[in-house]
């Protein structure tokens, strides 16, 4: 029988387009302080630290260096993960399950505003330097290809994708942490500026500033903290092939594999029935449709129908992104850890205006690394 790890402290900054008064270590400091306060504990309760960073987005080599001190890690065992915060959280869970540590603090942040002008260059650097970079490919154009492939394969329309933005930006109206909250119609999304066909401005998440911190604890210590523990019940991650041409972009096999591992670990057989709420990585509107299919909430190609049925609305059978998701604010690298934080707040009943119902037993959080969802991490959180 595996030992268990719980989230016992959550700290999030608000997500904003540009937090001009704070540099990125100061953002992390704010999230760390908030998480400790939420946990009702001081740094002395924490025996190790993992910071999740990215040298390109931070514009710093050894991007974990500036956040070592502000995360309280100066005199503790400490490590650094590069990639989405869901992966950083995984490493912290492993450190605790190894028996080497009892309570750990994990952070992720984004100061996207400082890299916004060069964002296409940042994601262009993820492409093959010889064949693809010179074409000017970046995250948005890669995802435009994926959107087109997905829409063609399953006969999905731009309007059906636009409905994701309508739902999520509407949900964000009740989330004080969200950057972008709008009451939209499908026509508004359709009429927004074309960025890379078929993706329009309101199909695309903004680049944001924000930091998040989670405090994780083993079962023995979980009771020492103020909030009820939110248990990490299952996790899986999986990576697809690298070259876009080696992948079927309408497919999401690595997500299916990651989800199936997480479900197996958490004992979930019927995700649509057993999961009460999901926070998925909707960096682009169409991705929420594609990912809900990969997560097994519906059959392949049925994501738009699932949305149209109302099932993924906040009051629906399986609410997806009640917080507003990434379309309402996308602090890259921290994006997936915000999903974990939002899912955990739902379980605690602390999600405020975006709370889906009184009693959330099981929640899903999802993070992505790489281009057009090359690598996925799926978490199942539970209240017992």
């Amino acid at each position: 029988m595996m030992e268990r790890v719980a989230i016992v402290g959550i700290g999030c900054t608000t997500i904003e387009a540009a937090k001009r008064t704070q540099n990125y270590p100061e953002l992390v400091y704010e999230a760390v302080k908030a998480a400790l306060e939420d946990a009702g504990a001081g740094m002395d309760a924490v025996d190790n630290v993992v910071n999740t960073t990215n040298d390109f987005w931070d514009g710093r080599t050894i991007s974990c260096m500036p956040v070592g001190g502000v995360s309280g890690g100066a005199d503790k065992n400490i490590s650094g993960v590069e990639g989405d915060g869901t992966f950083g959280t995984f490493y912290m869970m492993c450190r605790i399950l190894s028996g080497n540590y009892g309570t750990g603090l994990v952070t992720a942040h984004s100061k996207g505003s400082e890299g916004k002008e060069v964002a296409p260059l940042i994601t262009n650097s993820a492409f093959d330097p010889i064949h693809a970079r010179s074409l000017g490919a970046d995250m948005v154009t890669a995802c435009a290809l994926q959107a087109r492939k997905y829409m063609t394969t399953y006969g999905i329309t731009e309007e059906e994708c636009a409905l994701v933005s309508v739902k999520n930006l509407g949900n964000a109206l009740d989330n004080p942490r969200a950057q972008r909250a709008m009451k939209l119609t499908v026509a508004d999304v359709m009429n927004s500026d074309m960025i890379a066909s078929p993706l329009k401005k309101l199909d695309i998440s903004p680049i944001s500033d924000g930091a998040v911190c989670l405090i994780l604890s083993d079962e023995r210590n979980a009771g020492r903290f103020r909030p009820p523990p939110v248990w990490l019940k299952g996790v899986g991650f999986c990576c697809d092939a690298y070259q876009l041409g080696d992948r079927n972009l309408a497919d999401c096999k690595p997500l299916e594999m990651a989800a199936s591992k997480a479900y197996r670990m958490a004992g979930i057989r019927d995700p649509r029935k057993e999961i009460d709420v999901a926070e998925v990585y909707d960096a682009f509107s169409y991705q929420e449709l594609l990912w809900t299919e990969g997560l097994g909430f519906c059959e392949r190609g049925e994501g738009a129908k699932l949305l149209a049925s109302g099932a993924t609305q906040r009051e629906g059978e399986i609410p997806v992104n009640p917080s507003g998701g990434l379309l309402a604010g996308h602090p890259v690298i921290a994006g997936g850890m915000y999903r974990i934080a939002e899912a955990a707040l739902q379980i605690r009943g602390d999600a405020g205006g975006v709370q889906v119902k009184d009693r959330v037993k099981t929640a899903l959080a999802h993070g992505v690394n790489g281009l057009a969802g090359q690598s996925h991490c799926v978490w199942i959180l539970g209240n017992d």
Partner: protein, 386 residues
């Protein structure tokens, strides 16, 4: 409680200044293939991949995703760890924790760097705080030169003492077919080599190398089936004390290494490291570290390292050989460098180190150095931990 974990296979590339014959993915593939061959496994046996390097050296973002064709991570869990110079030992500690957690049984851990594709100093400069540090402490050399100067002033240590370390390691490298620089040097050659940053001379310093290292960690349920002599992890500790170079206090030794070592000795019950540990692979990017850092590790008292080194205690035939592989001063593919320290200790424990084998190794220490004077320590053992 967690599971015990061990290194069951290692693979290193042919380390060189410039590997024009391979791209980054192919370099990684070379190390992975050799590690799998060493463990007599195939990629299908591997249930996860952890990889690390320093992004700006090659200018590749999301390396965990980019490296799939070389790492074999297709449709496997893959993640990236990175902490600058300590990346290699961060990977080794990460691999250990992930297998000890029970989440993986057989984990492939890869460190790599193709330094020839970078402007190393240009990339390292951005590690420093743009406002407080960059104007005065940018690059890898300045901090080391200050440390050496302070150490020399405090204990009367001379450049000749440091050169003795360089002579030792560069001599050892001649017995390691994987070493990048395999050329023995004399004291006079070190002392007469070009001055780079006073008191550091060219032959006091590590090179920059193209290279990769892969190790396979296995859990206690299968390690002994895969490998007759696994290299078990006893404990791992680290400290990344400072976040800015301007925070570093002089005259106090490398705080991170002292504190990480203190915790390691306390966790493992080791009282006399020099007597109890059989071999050390010290992440020693410059000769002076081979003196001062022995003291920070409590292998001897303050100011006593030069005498031990001159007496041959750390030579191949000595009581506790340091850097039988030739160390970092001979081979330095940055993201792999720390992991090579661990792979070399595993080879020593397995008795597979060939011409640079130290006899009868029971306990071996690997360390990592990087970032803002940061330190990692990992202790490996021949005997399965209790």
């Amino acid at each position: 409680m967690g599971k015990r974990a061990a290194i069951v296979g290692t693979g290193q590339t042919d380390h060189k200044s410039i590997r024009r014959d391979v791209n980054g993915q192919e370099l990684i593939h070379e190390a992975v293939t050799r590690a799998l061959e060493d463990a007599e496994m195939t990629i299908d046996d591997i249930d996860g991949v952890v990889i690390g390097n320093m992004d700006h050296f090659e200018g590749i973002n999301y390396v965990d995703c980019w490296s799939i064709d070389g790492s074999g991570g297709y449709l496997k869990p893959v993640m990236k760890l990175c902490t600058g110079g300590t990346t290699g030992t961060t990977l080794a500690i990460g691999g250990y924790n992930m297998v000890a957690s029970g989440m993986f049984e057989k984990l492939l851990v890869i460190g790599w760097e193709k330094n020839s594709e970078s402007d190393t100093t240009g990339a390292i400069v951005t590690a420093t705080d743009p406002i407080l540090d960059r104007g005065v402490m940018a690059g890898a050399l300045a901090g080391l030169a200050i440390e050496a100067s302070e150490y020399a002033a405090a204990y009367g240590v001379t450049p000749r003492d440091a050169a003795r370390v360089s002579v030792r390691d560069r001599g050892n490298a001649c017995n390691n077919p994987h070493a990048h620089l395999q050329k023995a040097v004399t004291l006079e050659e070190v002392l007469n080599s070009p001055l780079i940053s006073d008191p550091l001379r060219l032959l006091d310093m590590c090179p920059r190398t193209d290279g990769a290292c892969a190790v396979i960690y296995a859990g206690e349920s299968c390690a002994e089936k895969i490998c007759p002599q696994p290299a078990w992890v006893v404990a791992a500790t680290n400290r990344h004390t400072y976040s800015r170079f301007s925070d570093i206090k002089g005259q106090t030794g490398m705080v991170s290494l002292s504190r990480a070592a203190e915790e390691l000795w306390q966790k493992t019950g080791i009282r006399e490291p020099l007597k109890e540990i059989d071999v050390v692979e010290l992440y020693q990017p410059y000769s002076w570290g081979g003196l001062k850092w022995m003291e920070d590790l409590s292998f001897c008292g303050r100011g006593e390292a030069p005498k031990l080194v001159w007496d041959g205690v750390t030579d191949m035939e000595g009581e506790c050989p340091f850097n039988p592989s030739g160390g970092v001063i001979s081979t330095n593919p940055i993201g792999a460098t720390g992991l090579i320290r661990c792979a070399e200790i595993a080879l020593q424990i397995q008795g597979k180190a060939g011409k640079h084998q130290v006899p009868d190794v029971r306990l071996g220490l690997a360390t990592g150095f990087g970032g803002c004077f940061w330190s990692d320590c990992i202790l490996y053992s021949k005997k399965k931990p209790e």
